[in-house]
């Protein structure tokens, strides 16, 4: 197979070993153990897939954050999507990841489809718009989820629907933004997070600037990071440098940019302008495991109300508590390792998930389950790498 540019060169094992030695040397100079949170589910997936956690010095702990949009959607919103799927004449379209997330009663969109509802999965919001154009007799509702990475694609689709005059298309909007949950985590009294690996693809849109509040207001260093193993290891070396050099203690923490090949300081101005035109910030939005966070969700702006499924349909909008058995909240805030959840791998598995963290391959629990399900001590005891 031909080498894949921008991929294979960031997976070089020799370079990874050399970086790990640098990380080990720098970690020896830490005064205290360091907990680093990777916010994005894509990073969580890379960390588990390559077993990076097991290769790091004991003094560095990785916490898996709430940056998997499928994992943080609350059951009430899923119940609303299931309700929409049951309305006469409605075709519901969404990303594959969301199809298997259970609402209350462990019923998913996939189950709804098996029972006769017209639920389709699409690769792009534009595919949902195309469904509406080719099926003028159906009301096509696109269930939008995702952070600032994905919201611009929805925004383009909404503007295109307007320009084309497509009347049988609407959006059930569940887009969220990254800053409010990060603030909620930093404000949480029990937060052990010492530094952040910031989500590279969100940053392509909002820029490194979008994370400046972390050092400026919370004194936490952050590095905007790519998604290959060398990217994550380099980011850890960069974070350690800020800490062992004394810069963080002296109040001079910064936002580093490890992902310069894709990310600029100001992000993508075209995408940001689209977000401002098409969306409005909700007063508050509920997150699984994190509760209601003010100003953390997006809805369609009033100018696009005719394309807003929440305006077009009488969506029930009920709030439903998180499942009692599952500890997604503690996992999503880095207070509990996935394999320590009481439901992990027994009541809750990728085939029969209770919590959303077990559904998406980027969920911390699904990644931990799929790539071993071992904590560090166990992995080493059964023959882990050189430690």
């Amino acid at each position: 197979m031909t080498p894949r540019r921008h991929v294979d060169e960031f997976r070089d094992p020799d370079a990874a070993r050399a970086l790990l030695r640098t990380i080990a040397t720098r970690a020896e100079r830490l005064d205290d153990p360091l907990a680093v949170m990777e916010v994005c589910g894509g990073h969580t997936h890379t960390i588990y897939r390559y077993g990076l956690e097991h290769l790091l010095p004991d003094r560095i702990e990785l916490l898996h954050g709430p940056g998997c949009p499928v994992c943080v959607i609350p059951r009430g919103r899923l119940d609303d999507a299931l309700w929409l799927a049951d309305q006469p004449g409605v075709t519901l379209a969404t990303f594959g990841d969301l199809m298997r997330v259970p609402g209350s009663g462990r019923h998913s969109l996939l189950d709804a489809r098996a029972q006769g509802a017209d639920v389709r999965f699409v690769y792009s919001p534009l595919d949902a718009l195309e469904l509406a154009r080719t099926h003028p007799d159906r009301e096509v509702v696109f269930v939008a989820i995702g952070f600032e990475t994905t919201a611009p694609a929805t925004a383009v689709t909404v503007e295109r629907a307007r320009a084309l005059g497509v009347r049988n298309f609407s959006v059930f909007c569940n887009h969220v933004t990254i800053e409010p949950p990060l603030r909620a985590l930093c404000d949480g009294g029990d937060s052990r997070i010492g530094a952040f690996i910031a989500p590279g693809h969100v940053a392509t849109v909002i820029g490194t600037r979008g994370f400046e509040f972390l050092p400026a207001e919370y004194g936490r260093p952050a590095v905007v990071t790519g998604f290959e193993p060398l990217d994550i290891l380099q980011a850890l070396a960069m974070l350690l440098e800020q800490i062992v050099s004394g810069a963080v203690a002296a109040g001079r923490a910064t936002v580093g940019n490890q992902y310069g090949r894709a990310v600029r300081a100001d992000g993508n101005p075209t995408a940001l302008a689209l977000l401002r035109r098409v969306f409005a910030v909700r007063e508050a939005f509920e997150w699984r495991g994190l509760g209601v966070i003010p100003h953390s969700g997006l809805r369609l702006a009033p100018a696009f109300a005719d394309l807003d499924a929440e305006v077009r349909f009488r969506v029930p909008g009920a709030r439903v508590a998180d499942p009692a058995a599952c500890q997604c909240g503690a996992v999503l805030t880095g207070r509990l390792a996935p394999e320590r959840c009481r439901a992990f791998g027994t009541a809750c598995t990728p085939d029969h998930p209770i919590g959303a963290c077990m559904v998406s391959p980027e969920g911390a629990c699904a990644a931990a389950f799929g790539f071993g399900g071992l904590d560090r001590a166990t992995a080493r005891a059964v023959g882990g790498p050189e430690a």
Partner: protein
């Protein structure tokens, strides 16, 4: 979810339309370029593809700089395993 796949722009079929044909590991598909309208995309550029959209242009010079920095960081440190018996 926030997955971005590097892809090479292989064709810009209609310069007045916001779309490009890209190749990912030899597979061609059409992506929307609405988010990179001001980038002046050209055949041979690399982009990150996310949910059917070109989300960002990949900068080859920056990628090379990052790889240099990774090598420099790795070479920076003495190898703690040097001199040790078969580790």
């Amino acid at each position: 979810m926030c997955l971005g796949v590097p892809a090479e722009v292989v064709e810009l079929p209609d310069p007045t339309e916001p779309r490009a044909i890209v190749a990912v590991a030899g597979v061609r598909r059409t992506v929307a370029t609405d988010l990179l309208l001001d980038e002046g995309l050209a055949v041979g550029d690399w982009v990150l593809v996310h949910v059917g959209f070109a989300l960002a242009r990949l900068d080859a010079a920056e990628a090379a700089r990052t790889l240099d920095e990774i090598r420099r960081l790795g070479a920076d440190q003495p190898n703690p395993f040097d001199g040790a018996a078969d580790v």
